[in-house]
């Protein structure tokens, strides 16, 4: 990029545009993948008609449908907060994409504090969810928002800690450095530690996305859609659909970057280097997404208190032990 003479503003503009296209497109593609993969896991076909070929345009059509829907704000709702909440949920999701390297040079912004930024930004959505739940003036939404806040905070920690393990290994907070440090994907090497860290991260990520089995906050059979119960139309897809899908895509990207060796080949073998990094990234990314999609239809959901217990009594201790183990590894191996 630097070769082309662009002013800082122009570069900024391009970057913003890139993100603004990647996220919705990613969310749409993710939505489609979710439709199809889940359908086949469930012995169904999923959408087959929209767009002709295997219903590829389903999510597009869905989005359009939501565009046309009436935007309803409940009478008792706190209008300002209610309308701001979707933005507060969605914008942080956009910001995550800033630091995910798709290839060595394909990154919007290589921040020095990459991971730190990633995790900090990722948890801003919590506020948006709380805003949505509180302002909706709906009991179900309130319960959902509180559940959501509690859960997002609880699972932020394991994610941070498992990321810290990676950072310790790489000795850097920059995502590019982290990827470069992984000759084998981190999930494979160092043995044991990496894999467990990866599992902890995946669990935390699923919880952050509030997807099954950690979807208590939006459990549709209990509290309808939790904080988003009162939302309709565009606000609904931005706050719920796009946020969830955007989160999923983002977390898959983070997972690939931190644990699966990003744009590097699976094993450090020179013939494999011929394949462009984008393809490696894409493959790993697809794997990650599939994992998320596979978990969803398989499990029932965990109860709220069990979910908290699981985070505080199991995941966090485990990740603390991992940090210790990693420290030992870095020092002695």
């Amino acid at each position: 990029m630097p070769e082309i003479a662009l002013t800082a503003w122009q570069i900024l503009l391009v970057k913003v545009l890139v993100i603004l296209t990647i996220v919705p497109v990613g969310a749409l593609a993710g939505g489609y993948a979710e439709h199809k993969v889940m359908a086949h896991l469930q012995h169904r076909l999923g959408p087959m008609y929209p767009g002709g070929f295997h219903g590829w345009a389903t999510t597009l059509a869905d989005g359009l449908k939501f565009l046309y829907k009436e935007d309803i704000v409940p009478d008792a709702a706190d209008r300002k907060v209610f309308s701001l909440a979707p933005a507060a949920i969605f914008v942080p999701v956009l910001m995550i994409y800033l630091v995910i390297p798709i290839d060595r040079n394909l990154i919007v912004e290589d921040l020095d504090v990459g991971i730190f930024y990633l995790l900090a930004v990722g948890s801003i959505s919590t506020i948006g969810v709380l805003m949505a739940g509180w302002s909706s003036a709906n009991k179900y939404a309130l319960i959902g928002a509180l559940r959501s806040a509690a859960q997002l905070i609880a699972y932020e920690l394991p994610i941070v800690l498992s990321a810290a393990v990676v950072a310790m290994y790489a000795g850097s907070l920059s995502v590019i450095d982290i990827v470069e440090k992984q000759n084998f994907p981190f999930a494979i090497w160092p043995p044991g530690i990496g894999l467990i860290a990866f599992l902890v991260f995946t669990t935390g990520a699923v919880a952050e996305m509030t997807r099954v089995p950690f979807d208590m906050p939006v459990a549709e059979s209990e509290i309808i859609t939790g904080p988003f119960t009162e939302y309709t139309g565009m606000r609904y897809i931005f706050s719920h659909m796009f946020a969830e899908m955007g989160h999923m895509v983002a977390f898959a990207g983070i997972g690939v970057t931190l644990f699966l060796g990003g744009y590097k080949p699976i094993i450090p073998w020179s013939p494999l280097e011929v394949v462009p990094g984008v393809i490696w990234f894409g493959l790993k990314f697809a794997l990650m997404i599939f994992l998320f999609l596979w978990i969803r239809p398989t499990f029932p959901r965990v109860r709220e208190d069990q979910l908290q217990k699981f985070a505080w009594k199991f995941l966090i201790p485990v990740s603390l032990v991992l940090v210790l183990a990693m420290g030992a590894w870095v020092l002695y191996v």
Partner: protein, 385 residues
């Protein structure tokens, strides 16, 4: 509607906390009448304190259809089709007690082939019903996949039933005296295929739900219905058996030809959601066994006894009960010799079962409430008939 009713002074709250008497506000939560977990218009008036249910009161009657009154204006043939609609998941089993009541009042002998076919259809219907609840219970706990698998299984049996009766849900096939007509060729093969498929695939489903740790966490020890309480509410069916009550009308007071088959009444002692669900799954296997045996011993002959042209029960009264998918279904028929019943009192299983809900729901979590509602396997039509 204000979510937070009066904002209190911070210092006041601090003082309360320090003195250990922070009073949390209780909130009244209307679960239903339109709510995804209630499978229909059922309302639960829940008082919650945070995530805890302090009190819960089931409110029924939102879809009362007045069947007991309606049937007094309809003749027996029409009633068959009406009662079929009470419990829309075990339709053919609803028709059975009515047919049996009229038969015993009129002293009609039902030919053995009809009896066997009745048993077969009832058990097929039981499998259909249980698969349905298998599906919905999973869905309530957040596992959506069992729904689709169970519906695929249901389809084969459903098609067999449709081939025989012409209906998918409302079969209308039992008549006082026997069956409407004999089953079409291919029915046995089709039904057996469906049943065997269910049994073949059951392990998969058990792995998916029963064996799942999350599922166990959600259900074991949750919503315990003690044996005594179950007795006192008149709970029956899989729910009672899940509380360790070994009661099954098919065994204890055999009707039709149930005494000729070898099957077990599955019971589980703990009375929690898991046990209820476990019993449900096991009854599928037992029903499959009965179907197999019944097909083996299916006699040939007519399917309709000697019934006068106009079905007209003589003066008298009778109580007939049968084991519906969800429990004991009883019909108390009083006839004044007309073509219509003078009075038909229907004792439906769901009605009694649901009345125990208030007891079980006390002091549980909101999420448990959903698990308990799901594990009580009720059909709204059966409650408000």
């Amino acid at each position: 509607m204000a979510v937070a009713p009066g904002v209190r002074d911070a210092s006041e709250v601090a003082e309360e906390i320090s003195s250990g008497r922070l009073v949390t506000e209780e909130m009244l939560l209307n679960v239903g009448p339109q709510h995804p977990a209630t499978h229909g218009v059922f309302r639960l008036l829940a008082t919650i304190d945070g995530e805890k249910l302090v009190d819960a009161e089931p409110v029924i009657g939102y879809m009362h259809r007045g069947y007991e009154k309606l049937v007094e204006q309809r003749d027996y043939r029409q009633i068959t089709n009406l009662v079929s609609r009470m419990d829309w998941l075990s339709n053919i089993q609803n028709e059975l007690p009515l047919a049996m009541a009229v038969e015993s009042l009129m002293e009609i002998e039902v030919p053995p082939r009809a009896q066997y076919l009745r048993v077969i259809m009832c058990e097929l219907n039981r499998i259909l019903n249980h698969l349905m609840f298998f599906a919905s219970f999973g869905a309530e706990l957040g596992a959506i996949t069992p729904t689709f698998y169970a519906f695929r299984e249901r389809e084969d049996i459903q098609m067999a039933m449709e081939a025989a009766t012409g209906g998918r849900m409302h079969f209308g096939f039992f008549r006082p005296g026997g069956l409407k007509e004999d089953v079409p060729r291919g029915f046995i093969a089709q039904a057996l295929k469906g049943v065997r498929q269910v049994i073949d695939r059951l392990p998969d489903y058990e792995n998916l739900l029963l064996g799942n740790e999350i599922f166990k966490q959600r259900t074991i020890g949750v919503g315990v219905l003690e044996k005594e309480v179950a007795y006192s509410y008149g709970v029956s069916g899989p729910i009672a058996r899940g509380s360790g009550i070994d009661f099954d009308v098919r065994k204890d007071e055999p009707y039709l030809v149930y005494d000729q088959f070898d099957f077990q009444v599955s019971t589980a002692p703990n009375g929690d959601c898991f046990d209820r669900f476990w019993v449900l799954v096991h009854e599928v296997v037992e029903s499959a066994k009965i179907v197999e045996q019944a097909f083996e011993g299916l006699p040939s002959g007519p399917v309709m006894g000697k019934v006068p042209r106009v079905v007209q029960a003589p003066v008298g009264e009778i109580y007939v009960r049968s084991e519906n998918s969800l429990g004991e279904l009883g019909m108390y028929l009083i006839s004044d010799g007309d073509r219509r019943p003078y009075r038909l009192k229907i004792r439906t299983p769901s009605y009694n079962n649901v009345s125990a809900l208030g007891h079980v729901l006390r002091d549980t979590f909101v999420s448990d409430m959903i698990a308990i509602l799901g594990s009580f396997f009720f059909v709204l039509g059966d409650i408000d008939r």
